[in-house]
Symmetry: C2
Subunit: 567 residues, 2 copies
């Protein structure tokens, strides 16, 4: 491709509101343009990279016996109702009635529809199956951000495994885990598999692939000693016990004027240190109130509420709701004597005594609370958010907490979909059993962006060779000089003839502009052809990653470059 | 791929309500499944063919300097409002408000958005550009039918050309015309370019590519003598003049009890032959009434109303509307003396006299109508539907009328989009001018189906080699026989090693079932490997298209098959 004829609209300035480097570089490099919030157009360079990312994914999926499908984006909403996901996906689901008035869902994922297709399977003899497609997904994210990292319309490779039993699922899950690690390696991404919440996907076990990054929206807990790794939404930790007095005295309500927070109560005379307080939160779980209890110095991990209670919709209660329910404001709430509202308590409160909590009356607290004696706990749960430096739940060594971008997510779904949708086969004993499913997702454009987050410098993108839009850019100094252009054209044709993708920068621009653009868009090798070099029979090859420059003979340039590229 | 492990759910029975052969064979061959009305899933075989069709299209687009993009499916409705297409595409447009309440359009095509991206072009020096993508389209067809031929969600390659002037557009239009003809040839489709209406696409000239087929929804008029070809929506013809008496007498209202139709009036005593009657139709054009006049023996071509008047929404008036407007029912309508309603008359009525028409009073007609004297024609238009056997408008020879499937459509858009969207560049004189656009569309799945309509026999599909899901199927007779399986496996591995796509039918099924399935799914070459042949060192190769069978030596089988395939 000749740059002079191509649409590569590079820009000098960063886009407005860009936080992520990948966002800035994709826009400045002429790879993408935003059409509206969270909706992007891929320009030619972007599409070239996207295509290469998809090719890698496809190759790795085929290598684990994947069969490629293409399932549609418009689904009958009725199928989503049957699995309950019109509710659990409600926040991001786009749904409307078609022109005949039938409710349709614009697919955010395809578990239901792949399961429906699998309804044609009849016998264990047809299993295992591994099916995938690379298809658009629509998710109406409330806060799209960071360019391609969080959008509302994107391409995902999603695969689905179908097995007769859990053992089969385990094999397919491992196959995917390994295939995903190969994909990330090829994309120049270092990703760690971590235990994760399955969220709205259902099922019981899931693994996310996390790339460490300060602009990531996830938090990961990792133990450098034993390798334990989990999304903070799911992570646990070992924390020291708090010594309580052997027995609580009698409950005692006392005045706490002006005390509104855990910290207030710590410094209040007659108050209590944070780890001897009970924090009481009021939440609405699928429309019903519930109290969530934590140790005063612990923070709630909201996803754990969902996972622990099975609720689809989880939100903090509003001020007025709290007042109407408990007769007091946040800051003076407690679960002592509360009846008729489910109370979920974090394990760290188990067995605790002589605690202090709100009295459900403004400016009053209660001391001497013995949790077992005074609070009717409906269910003990893990609700606590793990903090940096806490002990690893496996080996006790200090945990590391870091921000990360989720670049892939794989799920053991079990029979979560097969049961409501009636996807059964006959097993070897002739018994009807639900198919055991897994699902596995990797976002194409998000991984493009993640690769840039991991592969850039202050001049621009530094693409891994395998996904670069072009392997080589020939930068012509003085394209108006016929001999120079002839030399450049000959090299261009020679390299294309060997299957090397080359961009010919034949623009009528100053060399500095061309060098900067080549670095910005991140082509792995730049070959500079100019009258001065030609006079000496030489051209220059610059490695984008190392910046290393080599003079090579023009006569052998094509051979040498092909050698560098391994073709 | 091994058939025993693949998902190729062939069926014995045709799907319900299938009219098109391609629909039957795609479903029976395990290529597609319907999810809901007009919405299909591509199963693995279908996706393989789809992928090959896209590869051909991509190759031909790149060969005419196409740059591949990927533009999104969710568009701000505001952009569609600016070009007026929320109205002109209303019938099939899917549109809804996102979760923030912003109106979005689910794209049925991408003229607006490509034009928006082209807004970054600033100078004639950057032109020409040719941009395309292969992207999902959503059109809420009121009557999806015939399997993949008319659906509500499909993949289309749509390209867009951008030029400084009409001359540039003409070049790009010709490039596309030729590229499309190459694509159809590679898909095994015989397609004729015909003049067509631009409909809701805007612009002034368009060419459709039509494949003759009885299940087609379009009608094409073709002159075998001079090559004139047009969609019936747009076609004209030469018809003999009707001799009228030199002058009309005075208008005369007469009773016509029970006369409701043109045919009634022909046989009514004192009536008139059809070609001396005026047919009066009441239509609603963008919400306003209009009268359409045709010769009694001519039929209305509704698309011509739209094209001739510029109206976006065109429908016949309801019975009650007609009665309220003219005071009479259909069958007694006429335009004589009508005032305040636009009257559009077909050219065939021009200069006619002594005609008969309805009197706008039930059971009464008027004779001696001189069109020029008695009817206030607002505009003369071509409204008439061409009939088989009428004269070619170019050479006068009899025209041929046939049913056809539209397999591609290309449009000269001019500045239809650039003007409302403000897509301008500076020309060589430094003057701001709107970019001249073309758009070019080819449906991927529709062309898959069209290829089957053109390439099948009573046993199943007969794929052209280039788009067959596999080039070769190795049918193993007695896969339980180790020596047979070893021989088949060796051939399978050998052919894959040469890049030949092979399906290995290792299923535990009777040979007849396997032969039938291989023919049904349409693999170009079947190689039969069985114990009897192996004993003689031979296997059988059958050509799907000709049915010709050849015995070849197993030792040289891979070479010979590769030779047949030209690899």
């Amino acid at each position: 491709m000749r740059w002079s004829q191509a649409f590569i609209p590079t820009l000098r300035d960063d886009p407005a509101d860009s936080e992520a480097v990948s966002h800035k570089l994709l826009v400045r490099g002429g790879y993408v343009r935003q059409l509206m919030s969270g909706i992007y157009s891929m320009l030619p360079l972007g599409q070239r990279v996207r295509d290469k990312v998809m090719a890698i994914i496809r190759e790795e999926m085929n290598a684990i016996n994947g069969q490629e499908f293409l399932l549609p984006n418009l689904h009958p909403r009725e199928i989503w109702d049957r699995t309950g996901r019109t509710v659990s996906f409600a926040e991001v689901l786009m749904t409307f009635d078609d022109n005949k008035g039938s409710p349709v869902v614009l697919s955010p994922t395809h578990e239901e529809i792949f399961a429906t297709v699998a309804g044609e399977l009849t016998s264990y003899k047809q299993l295992p199956q591994m099916w995938y497609h690379i298809q658009t997904k629509f998710r109406d994210e409330p806060r799209p951000k960071s360019g391609l990292l969080r959008v509302r319309e994107f391409t995902m490779k999603d695969s689905y495994s179908f097995d007769i039993d859990e053992a089969g699922l385990d094999v397919q899950f491992d196959n995917h885990r390994n295939a995903y690690l190969r994909i990330f390696e090829r994309l120049g991404i270092t990703a760690v598999p971590v235990a994760a919440s399955s969220g709205a996907m259902g099922g019981k076990e899931s693994v996310e692939f996390m790339m460490q990054s300060d602009i990531g929206e996830d938090s990961v807990v990792h133990c450098a000693n034993c390798g334990y790794a989990a999304n903070r939404e799911k992570a646990t930790s070992a924390i020291p016990d708090v010594d309580d007095p052997p027995e609580s005295g009698a409950l005692e309500v006392f005045d706490t004027p002006g005390v509104r927070t855990i910290a207030d109560l710590e410094v209040f005379e007659g108050g209590a240190v944070a780890d001897r307080q009970i924090k009481t939160l009021v939440y609405v779980l699928d429309g019903e109130f519930a109290l969530l209890l934590l140790r005063g110095d612990h923070a709630l991990e909201e996803q754990k509420v969902q996972d622990g209670t099975g609720a689809s919709e989880v939100r903090p209660a509003h001020e007025e709701e709290i007042r109407a329910l408990l007769g007091a404001d946040a800051g003076s709430l407690g679960a002592v004597g509360v009846d008729g509202i489910p109370v979920y308590a974090d394990h760290a409160l188990s067995g605790r005594s002589s605690m202090t909590t709100g009295a459900n009356e403004n400016d009053k607290h209660i001391r001497n609370v013995d949790v077992a004696r005074d609070i009717a706990v409906t269910k003990w749960l893990d609700l606590r958010s793990v903090e940096d430096g806490e002990g690893c739940p496996n080996c006790g060594e200090p945990l590391n907490l870091f921000k990360a971008i989720e670049v892939g997510h794989i799920f053991k779904l079990g029979t979560f979909y097969a049961e409501p949708l009636g996807v059964n086969v006959l097993d070897e004993h002739g018994k009807t059993v639900p198919i055991v499913m897994g699902s596995y997702g990797i976002g194409v454009e998000r991984n493009m962006a993640a690769s840039i987050e991991a592969n850039h410098d202050d001049k621009g993108i530094v693409w891994p060779l395998e996904i670069a839009p072009f392997a080589v850019v020939i930068t012509v100094i003085r394209p108006d000089d016929a001999a120079t252009m002839d030399t450049a054209e000959a090299l261009y044709a020679n390299l294309w003839g060997r299957g090397v993708e080359v961009l010919l920068d034949d623009r009528d621009e100053r060399p500095g502009v061309k060098f900067n653009d080549a670095e910005l868009i991140g082509i792995p090798y730049r070959v500079t052809v100019g009258p001065r070099g030609i006079a000496e029979g030489m051209c220059e090859v610059v490695d984008r990653r190392t910046g290393e420059s080599t003079e090579i003979a023009i006569d052998s340039a094509a051979d040498e470059i092909a050698g560098l590229l391994g073709v």
